[in-house]
């Protein structure tokens, strides 16, 4: 992962351009990796090669990448049931993730976590969570821990609009504010609390909830990775320098259903709405258009990245398909440390 705290002033303009180009390619690669990863999850799932449930984050790539690019490797995140993007953006490897999703022994959690429980301690990912809002305490506790241990680590709690209905979010925001903890609550509002529009489940104003606790809150266009990165960078810096928690509302959209099996969505949203987001507010299109129009990259650069990511994902899927399942004796391991 690139060093986000780098002070670019030392570079002359061509070096600066080179660095910006490199970082832009990196972010584009990360977003594309998530997109292709999820497309392959969909494929694996619908061809009955992947067991269980799967919740795709296609459409929300810019939030995961923009936020995680503002973090260091030793910063923490907690994630959600729609967490593949967060996990990849924080630095996980595609092959070990696919292996975990298929329940294989070489997966990140030896096949015992699965899609909704992937954790990767080495990249600071304290875990996806299948309880909506369930990780808010963990993220806040990691921030308390960082403060107590005297490190300058920052903790990010990803959650969706659905978690706004869970009480624990407000309990821990209260404590984070009281104790000035280095935690950022990133609310991904993808408009749907499972199969229900969030306005039917969420009264009042979302950022006002955080402001009521005197938590610094911002609302941004979550489809624009540059905006997500710059705002996240500011909030991370605040947290790292002891200025306390913040709340980042990212407006985004989930292209697929609540889970892979949620195909017929007409009863809760229109095809026109979906097509509008896919056409006019797609995070990959927005970012690649910016890169090409600003002259940073040309189409062949993007094609090159695309082909590299495609190869990586194909290899990763094959790695996971070929990987062995856990042995039966694994079932009783790790109940206790």
């Amino acid at each position: 992962m690139a060093n986000k705290d780098e002070n670019n002033s030392q570079f002359n303009s061509s070096e600066k351009d080179a660095t910006e180009k490199e970082h832009s390619i990196h972010m584009f690669r990360q977003m594309l990796k998530i997109r292709k990863f999820e497309e392959n999850v969909n494929q694996l799932y619908t061809s009955a090669k992947m067991p269980g449930l799967s919740h795709l984050s296609i459409g929300q790539e810019a939030v995961a990448v923009g936020v995680c690019e503002a973090l260091r490797n030793d910063d923490y995140i907690t994630s959600t049931h729609r967490g593949h993007g967060h996990c990849l953006a924080k630095g996980a490897a595609t092959n070990l993730m696919f292996a975990e999703l298929l329940g294989k022994a070489s997966g990140y959690c030896r096949g015992k976590g699965g899609s909704m429980h992937i954790a990767d301690q080495d990249s600071g990912n304290l875990g996806a969570n299948a309880i909506v809002g369930g990780s808010a305490g963990i993220a806040t506790g990691a921030a308390l821990s960082a403060k107590m241990r005297g490190t300058d680590q920052v903790s990010v709690c990803f959650f969706g609009d659905g978690a706004l209905g869970q009480g624990i979010i407000y309990e821990v925001m209260n404590m984070a504010s009281l104790w000035s903890l280095p935690v950022i609550y990133v609310c991904e509002n993808n408009l749907y609390t499972e199969y229900t529009h969030y306005t039917e489940t969420t009264a009042g104003d979302i950022t006002a909830r955080a402001k009521a606790f005197h938590i610094h809150a911002e609302e941004i266009e979550g489809q624009d990775v540059r905006q997500v990165l710059s705002t996240s960078g500011k909030l991370v810096q605040r947290a790292r320098s002891g200025q306390g928690p913040s709340f980042l509302l990212c407006n985004t959209y989930r292209y697929f259903g609540h889970h892979v099996g949620d195909i017929n969505r007409a009863y809760y949203r229109t095809k026109d709405e979906e097509n509008d987001w896919k056409t006019n507010r797609d995070p990959l299109i927005i970012f690649s258009n910016w890169m090409t129009s600003s002259g940073l990259l040309n189409q062949s650069d993007l094609d090159q990245v695309e082909s590299e990511v495609q190869t990586e994902i194909e290899d990763a899927v094959q790695f996971a398909l070929d990987a062995p399942y856990p042995k039966p004796e694994e079932v009783k391991k790790h109940v206790y440390a």
Partner: protein, 333 residues
């Protein structure tokens, strides 16, 4: 009893808990306490009095009344290098922490394939008889005992309270300790030394030959009282305290059952589906051909705990109930 005879020092159960926490906090900088009114107030039971003066508000954190929230914060802190002791003021409030303990703390080590650990202690209490009504009197330890990944500890003496708590703090797993709030002023010998008591090792509190009385927490005292009364009737009762119900020292319990051939299990959880049921089943399986009578259970009456003292007292196991049941079992031989 496993108590060393060298150092005689009589202190209360409450002081023993306090001493265990202070010693561990001195020994290990990552240990901290979080909960409602734990700092200057030292909890309503005053068990933590003096700790904030020594360790400061950075390590003895008064929280809002948010059991779910600060238990979750404990989980996150434990996953990232700290050893929190989460204080849940009444055992009844464990209901509010359930997602954080059952779905998060208990499962994180397993779900992460052994990568993440949650070395967290939850200190709470159990037991009726304080005229506190149905929401401040329950003994809900079996809820946690049912969940793989958790350890559940039930100290019955000041000596055990100190040694078991120290073991809990040093354990790399989530451990829930239930102390009976009626025992805080009980006195006993507690060495000043640093000692720990291993989990999963039952303590034979009194040896006997005719019947085994297995008691947990304050029910150990009820069993000992019953044993004294039974001795007057020439019935020799053995009293065993499992000390931890998860892990459970099945071997010691079964061996005693084989020796005496009769068993009563006494625990203050509700009568049905309780710790008593599990222990009775363990003995039925392990000592079946040696039993002279069915394994019997005594728990709290299956009713919400009533407020009126005359009613509340009917719901809690007492020595008289144990004696009557023991006499029946022994007469049946």
């Amino acid at each position: 009893m496993s108590m060393p005879e060298s150092s005689e020092r009589i202190i209360t159960f409450s002081q023993a808990v306090n001493e265990a926490l202070a010693e561990e906090m001195r020994r290990e900088k990552t240990v901290f306490i979080i909960g409602e009114d734990v700092a200057e107030a030292g909890t309503p039971f005053k068990v933590l009095s003096g700790l904030v003066e020594e360790f400061g508000t950075e390590r003895v954190l008064d929280s809002p009344i948010s059991e779910s929230g600060f238990t979750g914060i404990g989980v996150g802190a434990a996953m990232t290098g700290m050893r929190p002791v989460v204080d849940i003021m009444f055992g009844d409030f464990m209901t509010i922490t359930m997602d954080q303990i059952v779905n998060q703390a208990a499962k994180i080590h397993y779900m992460s394939g052994g990568k993440l650990k949650v070395p967290m202690v939850v200190r709470t209490n159990l037991g009726a008889s304080r005229r506190s009504g149905a929401q401040h009197s329950q003994s809900l330890h079996v809820w946690l005992s049912h969940i793989p990944g958790l350890k559940v500890v039930l100290p019955s003496t000041p000596y055990d309270a100190k040694g078991l708590l120290k073991t809990a703090i040093r354990d790399d797993n989530p451990v829930v300790i239930f102390e009976d709030k009626m025992m805080f002023q009980d006195k006993g010998n507690v060495p000043e030394d640093d000692y720990t008591i291993p989990f999963g090792v039952a303590d034979i509190k009194k040896e006997g030959t005719d019947i085994t009385l297995i008691g947990t927490s304050s029910m150990v005292q009820i069993a000992l009282e019953a044993a004294d009364l039974l001795a007057e009737k020439d019935i020799s009762a053995e009293v065993i305290d499992p000390r931890t119900v998860m892990p459970l020292d099945k071997k010691t319990l079964i061996e005693s059952a084989i020796k005496t051939s009769r068993v009563i299990v006494i625990d203050e959880g509700y009568d049905s589906y309780g710790v008593t049921a599990e222990i009775a089943s363990v003995i039925a399986e392990g000592a079946f051909y040696h039993l002279e009578a069915p394994v019997k259970r005594i728990g709290a009456m299956d009713v919400p705990i009533p407020f009126s003292p005359v009613l509340e007292d009917l719901t809690v196991p007492n020595a008289g109930m144990v004696v009557e049941m023991a006499k029946t079992l022994c007469a049946a031989a």
